[in-house]
């Protein structure tokens, strides 16, 4: 259910952003989804395939999903830490931080069009 509504939201967003003439030339959609986004790439691919059954217009458009890991940047010492085991602590100064700089994103990162 969730993945289906995300696919619908992606397609609605693109239809809102680009002219239909341009959308007809769309070749690929690149998403960037963080590990904290609750989006499972495999399930999203399945939902995307299912979307084409009712919306065949985009069946040739490829979907690429890049997963990103979780990183925080310490507000005090600016050190960037790869968060492991969901411990939101700076590696350098051990202070807790909620300043997530990567890993929460749900982005339509790039769209490719045929010339």
């Amino acid at each position: 259910m969730h993945e289906t509504s995300i696919v619908n939201s992606i397609m609605r967003t693109l239809e809102h952003e680009f002219e239909s003439e341009k959308l007809n030339k769309m070749k690929a959609i690149h998403l960037k989804v963080g590990i904290l986004s609750n989006i499972e790439p495999r399930l999203l691919h399945n939902a995307y395939s299912a979307y084409h059954l009712t919306n065949p217009g985009y069946h040739h458009v490829q979907l690429h999903i890049e997963s990103t890991t979780l990183k925080i940047q310490c507000e005090v010492c600016n050190h960037i830490t790869d968060v492991k085991n969901y411990r939101f602590l700076c590696d350098n100064c051990e202070r807790p931080s909620k300043n997530v700089i990567q890993g929460e994103e749900m982005l339509i990162h790039k769209v490719e069009f045929n010339d």
Binding site: V33, R87, F88, L89, M106, E112
Partner: protein, 231 residues
């Protein structure tokens, strides 16, 4: 037709770097809700948790304790039935059911659609009781001032690390059903430690709508936030 002799292969692709948030539509509506709430200085609180952790019972108890002090209303989301809104209405406050028809979370659009059912001028505190689910609701901003997550002692104390985003995006964790602590293998200390490793700013109250442990502290917190919102 003469083909171009440049090195660019046929079917060259043109890229647009967009970086559009997938939930852009939701966040746009969430901002509208925030503005509506600011107009009337109504405090909006999003209550989340797994199914069966005591959200509705807490709404009933909160209404009972605070309805003579402030004006409260609740909108409650479920996949089906009007049961929760009926239970909350019995306490004498306005409650509106949002039936999502199978959708696992509430979206800002659903909240915005029913906002005109409420006389916001005369509401100090509006609760959104979200669909019971620790996963999907965490991604959807509903324009709330605070997000409060219930974590029942019957669920097991290992949940914050299993569902980190919900705890990362919450302001308060209510460890609910604390009256059952003598009967269940649940450590408030362990759950608090885990949750604060995810979110060091998380406030924690141990609460029971049955024994009323922590209910006073919870109500004081709400009254303080209502006052702050009124500025």
């Amino acid at each position: 037709m003469i083909e171009k002799s440049t090195k660019a292969a046929r079917g060259t692709v043109q890229c647009e770097n967009t970086n559009i948030n997938l939930l852009k539509a939701n966040d746009f509506v969430a901002d509208i809700i925030k503005k509506e709430m600011a107009k009337t200085s109504t405090l909006l609180i999003n209550i989340t948790s797994s199914a069966g952790s005591g959200k509705t019972t807490l709404m009933q108890k909160t209404a009972e304790k605070l309805k003579d002090k402030i004006k409260i209303a609740v909108m409650v989301g479920d996949l089906e039935t009007e049961r929760d809104a009926d239970r909350i209405r019995e306490t004498g406050i306005q409650a509106l059911q949002i039936v999502t028809g199978g959708i696992c979370h509430l979206e800002a659009q659903m909240i915005h659609q029913v906002l005109d059912q409420f006389d916001l001028e005369n509401i100090d505190l509006l609760f959104i009781e979200n669909v019971g689910n620790l996963v999907c609701p965490s991604s959807f901003d509903l324009g709330e001032d605070y997000r409060v997550t219930l974590m029942a002692t019957t669920e097991g104390d290992d949940k914050p690390k299993k569902y980190p985003k919900m705890f990362l995006t919450s302001d308060m964790m209510l460890v609910s059903k604390s009256d059952l602590l003598p009967y269940v293998p649940f450590s408030v200390e362990a759950v608090t430690k885990d949750a604060r490793e995810v979110n060091h700013e998380l406030e924690v109250i141990q609460i029971s709508s049955i024994s009323e442990e922590g209910v006073g502290e919870w109500c004081d917190w709400l009254l303080e936030k209502v006052q702050q919102k009124k500025g």
